[in-house]
Symmetry: C2
Subunit: 67 residues, 2 copies
DNA sequence: CTTTTATGTAAAGCAAGATTGACTATCATC
DNA sequence: GATGATAGTCAATCTTGCTTTACATAAAAG
């Protein structure tokens, strides 16, 4: 899964720490998700979606289309 | 997180096993998600979304609205 | 030059997602 | 009554999301 987190965060002028606080996770979690180390849980994805006022599908992008 | 998986699956006339096969997970995973034992990972949520042709937000519902 | 802020990354550990295998109950049908 | 399909659940196991702590770098500010 790729994501547009870094771009969106920059657009809002938020630091990783600031976003992490809004989401209730650690800064390292935000960084890890941005750098693609792993995907967020579904509940966290919903919180991110809410944070940017965008549907999940506009933030996270499938890489492996169905065949 | 609540979800409408059971209803949607019934509407399509699919067994848990059939849906599991489509999703590439075990029948027990489908059952566990339906009975609310845990939430699916984000990639799996995307596959489910794709399977039913509905956005994630129409299948999974937040229980804890932002205060 | 020193301090602060933002970021990258790594180790270690806990919690949650997800697996397989097995056993059970129910219902339909042969 | 036996058989097969569906579904609920438990135990054991493995993977992954997320944590804290810590250290390193670069840029900006004092």
């Amino acid at each position: 899964m790729k994501n547009r987190l870094r771009v969106l965060r920059a657009e809002h002028g938020w630091s990783q720490q600031a976003l992490a606080d809004k989401l209730g996770v650690s800064r390292q979690s935000v960084n890890a998700i941005e750098t693609g180390k792993y995907d967020p849980s579904l509940p966290l994805a919903f919180r991110i979606s809410e944070c940017f006022g965008l549907p999940i599908e506009d933030i996270f992008l499938r890489e492996e289309p169905s065949s």
